[in-house]
């Protein structure tokens, strides 16, 4: 199976091509340059593999949470490519992808992933790796004030992501000595998204191009006027 994954949800921009589980990735931390880089990254991955876009079997993307514009860029690019060839798409949580990156890097199996969501909030998700190697969400993903972050009462956890860089002092107090390490500059990667997408695809987690839309978590983005004028 040939799966093409991409992520533009945070400061990092990446694309990865998995051919029967063997993954090659282009990755660059380049804020505000994602729209200039992403298609070039994809094209070069395909060229190196001697493939055309029509050879791709499945697409995957970081569906959020993250920068609103960033997750839409990934969704839009995936929609364009998947629509062109009528191929399925696997939306993958960017928080899960971060947890996967952190686990890969450290060998830890329990990760609290947090992305700085601005407006004094973080996007939050707790993940554990099960015996089969699957990364499983504990509870729900949410957008929350650092003071209210649902830090688990038990277990040892690795903390990962820009949320911890911005609000580590507040959020880590509930964790105390159960914090086994910190990766504050951890970003999602297309490689991690590809890994997660392969198993999700096998479990029927694919959607159509039309259904490949972002998950923002923050949905209260405008206030309604109290009265006319």
């Amino acid at each position: 199976m040939k799966l093409l994954a991409l992520d533009t949800s945070t400061e990092a921009c990446s694309a990865a091509l998995s051919i029967d589980g063997e993954i090659k990735q282009h990755y660059q931390v380049a804020p505000r340059e994602h729209t200039h880089l992403i298609l070039g990254m994809i094209e070069s991955l395909l060229q190196d593999a001697g493939l055309k876009s029509s050879d791709i079997d499945v697409m995957a993307f970081g569906r959020g949470p993250g920068s609103f514009m960033g997750v839409r860029v990934a969704a839009g690019v995936v929609q364009g490519i998947a629509f062109a060839h009528s191929i399925p798409v696997v939306p993958v949580s960017t928080l899960a992808a971060m947890a996967s990156v952190a686990m890969q890097e450290t060998g830890q199996t329990q990760v609290l992933a947090a992305i700085d969501a601005r407006m004094k909030e973080v996007y939050w998700g707790a993940y554990c790796q099960d015996e089969a190697g699957q990364i499983v969400l504990q509870g729900e993903e949410c957008v929350v004030a650092p003071e209210q972050a649902p830090v688990p009462a038990q277990g040892e956890w690795l903390t990962a992501g820009t949320g911890w860089a911005s609000y580590g002092a507040i959020m880590r107090s509930a964790l105390g000595e159960r914090c086994v390490g910190s990766l504050p500059d951890c970003f999602p990667s297309a490689e991690a998204i590809a890994r997660l997408a392969i198993s999700a695809y096998q479990n029927g987690g694919a959607v159509t191009a039309a259904e490949a839309v972002p998950v923002y978590l923050r949905d209260n983005v405008a206030s309604k006027p109290k009265s006319a004028l």
Binding site: T35, H36, I38, L39, G40, I42, E43, K52, S53, S54, F68, M69, R72, V73, A75, G76, V77, V78, Q79, G80, I81, F83, A84, H85, S86, T208, A209, A210, A212, V213, P214, Y216, V221, A222, K224, P225, A228, L229
Partner: protein, 347 residues
């Protein structure tokens, strides 16, 4: 050449297929008016979110209507500016990537060039050169159009766009959202001559516009009227219609006078009106009469192509792609993009 056009610069998602040989093949539009109504104006983030949900389903519908598939698309054009950056970016990401995946060229289209050339989609299109009045919620512009990409700006609004003044005045009168068309409907019930509003910037030479003072004049008149008519609902309702009438007349008179001036200045007989306010019946009638008196001819697109649409984008994209232009493998969108920076193309 068959070109798919994508428009997503503000609160409408428009998709169309244009064939250089057969003309317009199909077009569909999704309007977000209801989405923004409860906020009393377009919320940019909500607009972007809505575009990314609707682009693919609308593309499917457009292809189906034309009896074509993705593989029949020979070029993809999308609005790259000016407009709301997030909204534009949604369409640009989908459009540029679609073109890349299909292995066909992509073309960025200037939203206002789309409007200016929209009358070319009609059966009796104007020949170059012509004077174009572009009036919408975002723009009020007079241009001398001598060819595709040859736009000399003769005048523009120094403050509110004409459509914006319509919408804001409607809001002050408590008419709902979007207020412009509601105000125009109410104006029909108003009695001409009850109020006389100023015709801004007509007492001096030049082709620029200013509509924000007119809006304030309407507000003052309306507030005074509300005090005078306290407890007299019927009288107040008629007064509201009279204010709407006076406001619309002032805007229409001003636009008409500047159009006549523009035609004389560049020695031109053909006038084109485009943009959402171009759908205003009173404006169309008055411009038609003015142009006839001057011995010229008036051109305008069908009502559905006055407002934002994918057809005008597919059309302009097709013209420019056929002229050999195309967009590199990068995705861009511009909130601001002066129309006189566009390259001209030769037939």
């Amino acid at each position: 050449m068959i070109v798919l056009g994508i428009e997503s610069s503000c609160d409408e998602t428009g998709i169309a297929l244009y064939d250089s040989e057969k003309g317009l093949l199909s077009h569909v539009l999704h309007s977000q008016i209801e989405l923004h109504a409860e906020y009393g104006g377009v919320v940019p983030e909500l607009a972007s979110r809505d575009h990314i949900r609707h682009l693919v389903p609308l593309m499917e519908q457009t292809l189906q209507q034309a009896g074509l598939t993705q593989k029949d698309i020979q070029g993809v054009a999308y609005t790259a500016g000016p407009g709301l950056i997030g909204a534009l970016m949604s369409g640009a990401c989908v459009g540029r990537s679609l073109a890349w995946a299909l292995g066909v060229p992509a073309q960025e289209v200037h939203h206002m060039e789309g409007h200016l050339l929209a009358p070319m989609l009609e059966e009796n299109p104007p020949e170059f050169p012509f004077v174009a009045l572009l009036v919408s919620g975002g723009h009020t512009l007079l241009a001398h159009v001598t060819g595709v990409g040859q736009y000399e700006i003769l005048g523009q609004s120094l403050d509110d766009a004409a459509g914006e003044a319509f919408d804001k005045t409607a809001k002050m009168l408590g008419l709902g959202y979007p207020g412009g068309p509601i105000l125009a409907k109410l104006a029909v019930k108003g009695v001409a001559g009850v109020y006389r509003f100023p015709r801004p910037m007509t007492d001096r030479p030049g082709l620029d516009f200013s509509f924000s003072g007119l809006k304030t004049f309407a507000l003052n008149t309306w507030q005074k009227l509300q005090v005078e008519c306290e407890g007299q609902t019927e009288k107040l309702e008629q007064g509201q219609a009279d204010v709407a009438r006076a406001f619309e007349e002032a805007v229409v008179d001003t636009l008409s006078l500047k159009c006549r001036r523009a035609l004389k200045q560049v020695h031109c007989k053909r006038l084109v009106i485009a943009g959402g306010v171009g759908a205003n019946q009173h404006l169309r009638q008055q411009l038609k009469a003015m142009v006839k008196k001057e011995g010229g001819e008036l051109y305008y697109p069908r009502i559905e192509f006055c407002t934002d649409n994918g057809a005008m984008i597919a059309y302009v994209g097709c013209l420019r792609l056929m002229a050999g232009e195309s967009k590199a493998l990068s995705i861009d969108a511009r909130a601001r993009w002066p129309i006189d920076e566009l390259p001209s193309i030769r037939d």
